[in-house]
Symmetry: C2
Subunit: 308 residues, 2 copies
């Protein structure tokens, strides 16, 4: 990690955690009768459990390109993180990936129970849109509704939820049990939906918050797409090469499941080459913003090189 | 059911189903790569399976009070129905209420599988906000974001998700297995959150779409609260008196679970008295709208008298 990046990642994480803590406090907000303690505890377990907070960081840094201060972007950042945390809680469920460990701690259904974990995920997904609808997300209703639309598209049928469906199908869950031999294009679609879409919208959110012109928005979308693809290849490489201790969750699961990944399809060396190309592509996409993009460029390199 | 109500309920249901069918079509929308077939089939199973479509009806009728045409309100109505259908899919899951039957058909996890049912619910919840964010929900971004806020509050921690959490806790799931002996106020809180909030927001949505003044919005909120409470008492009575054939789902489940309901707490006769009072209260709340409210008043009576 470069010298510059670490403190900015930490600052974004701290700011986002503070916003999430406030949203997940025990006292009812306007229009709420009460907040059930068990639900709140499970939501906090799933959302305040650390993690790199990469998506909030991308929201804050992309917003900064347009002069939007971190405090003015943090509610949108927290909303994106709610969607990310909800997806982890649901993906970890016994009927999905059946994971006991997440960020080195018990998953929500292990720490609580399955029903509570489902509700905690549902609650976080709903909270994301509640956050975006509030005036502290942005003073302009037009900006807020554009954020809602972009996040709903990234999270929904053609994005994250659809990607998780494709992922389960690829494992052969519904067709007699054998993993599907996916072709490269199908693996890329799956990953772009399951993981990429939320990373892309994290970058796009900055352009929306900054009321950027179409060219700037397109540049951030291109950056996000390359970064998202790099992120997933790095993840596949980590699943082959990482250790449980460093990664904080189970590794070797893809190979055990006979899952088609870019690494299993391309081989480790070629996958590393594609990864390097994607980092370069992400950094090149930032060209229109000139010299202000050091942190985002470093983030692309960091995503590719991370060990957890 | 009065002569007037039946055709209006049917028309609202048909209009809403058409809008939902369009939203759940197989072809990807803007910003989507593809729509996984299995996910779409499960979402359609859960959302196009009939039902009274009471919530969409309330959206359309409350909007009509302000001269909003059904076609201009139907996207918001479909969004509310998406939230309702998602909640049914998740509530039916084995780890929640473990129901095999819904509207006389297999529940989504029986017709598909548990993971697919969780994702179908997640997809419908996300779709609700996607629908509200689109321009066909309303031309004004301020109106659309107000709808997002109201729906998120009704569906979230202090509304439906929180209510389901309280309901599971009331069954004694987390405290040694014995159902909690809830007091009347706690039962009312639980029901207002679990069932009431979405009925209330269905009525409030009409006021938001119609850009109504505070007095009109407050009147519709009061109507919705009384209607929601009446709906739940009627449901409790049906659980005691109804037949599986008419209700289309399991009955007698509350008593079997030793669950505290208004019927078990007040007795059947007093519960019927409270129900009649609530219908009168709902109808009285409509007074500011004068003579235009025949259909909504009839709906309150219908909700109390329904046999399924």
């Amino acid at each position: 990690m470069t010298q510059d990046l670490a403190p900015r990642l930490d600052a974004a994480a701290a700011l986002t955690e503070a916003r999430l803590s406030r949203a997940l406090a025990g006292a009812p907000e306007d229009g709420e009768r009460l907040r059930p303690e068990r639900l709140m505890a499970a939501m906090r377990h799933g959302a305040l459990a650390g993690g790199k907070r990469l998506r909030p960081f991308l929201v804050l840094e992309s917003a900064a390109l347009f002069g939007v201060a971190p405090q003015a972007a943090v509610t949108a950042a927290a909303a994106v993180e709610c969607v990310h945390c909800y997806s982890l809680i649901h993906d970890d469920l016994p009927s999905m990936d059946n994971d006991d460990l997440r960020r080195g701690r018990p998953t929500v259904h292990k720490a609580f129970d399955e029903a509570t974990a489902i509700l905690a995920g549902d609650g976080l997904l709903t909270l994301a849109f509640d956050l975006l609808a509030g005036e502290d997300a942005h003073p302009s209703p037009a900006v807020r509704i554009a954020l809602v639309r972009a996040l709903a598209r990234a999270a929904g049928i053609g994005g994250m939820v659809g990607g998780q469906m494709l992922d389960l199908a690829a494992e052969g869950r519904f067709d007699g049990g054998a993993p599907l031999a996916l072709e490269l294009g199908a693996i890329r679609d799956l990953q772009a939906m399951k993981t990429g879409a939320l990373l892309v919208v994290s970058c796009e959110a900055g352009a929306i918050l900054g009321q950027a012109d179409e060219r700037a928005r397109a540049a951030l979308l291109a950056f996000g797409r390359a970064l998202g693809a790099a992120f997933q290849i790095a993840d596949d490489i980590l699943d082959v090469e990482g250790s449980v201790e460093a990664v904080g969750k189970g590794v070797g699961k893809d190979a055990d499941a006979g899952k088609a990944t870019l690494v299993s399809t391309l081989g480790l060396d070629e996958a590393r080459g594609v990864l390097a190309d994607l980092v370069a592509e992400a950094q090149a996409a930032l060209a229109p913003f000139g010299a202000r993009t050091g942190t985002l460029a470093a983030a692309a390199a960091f995503v590719a090189a991370r060990k957890s």
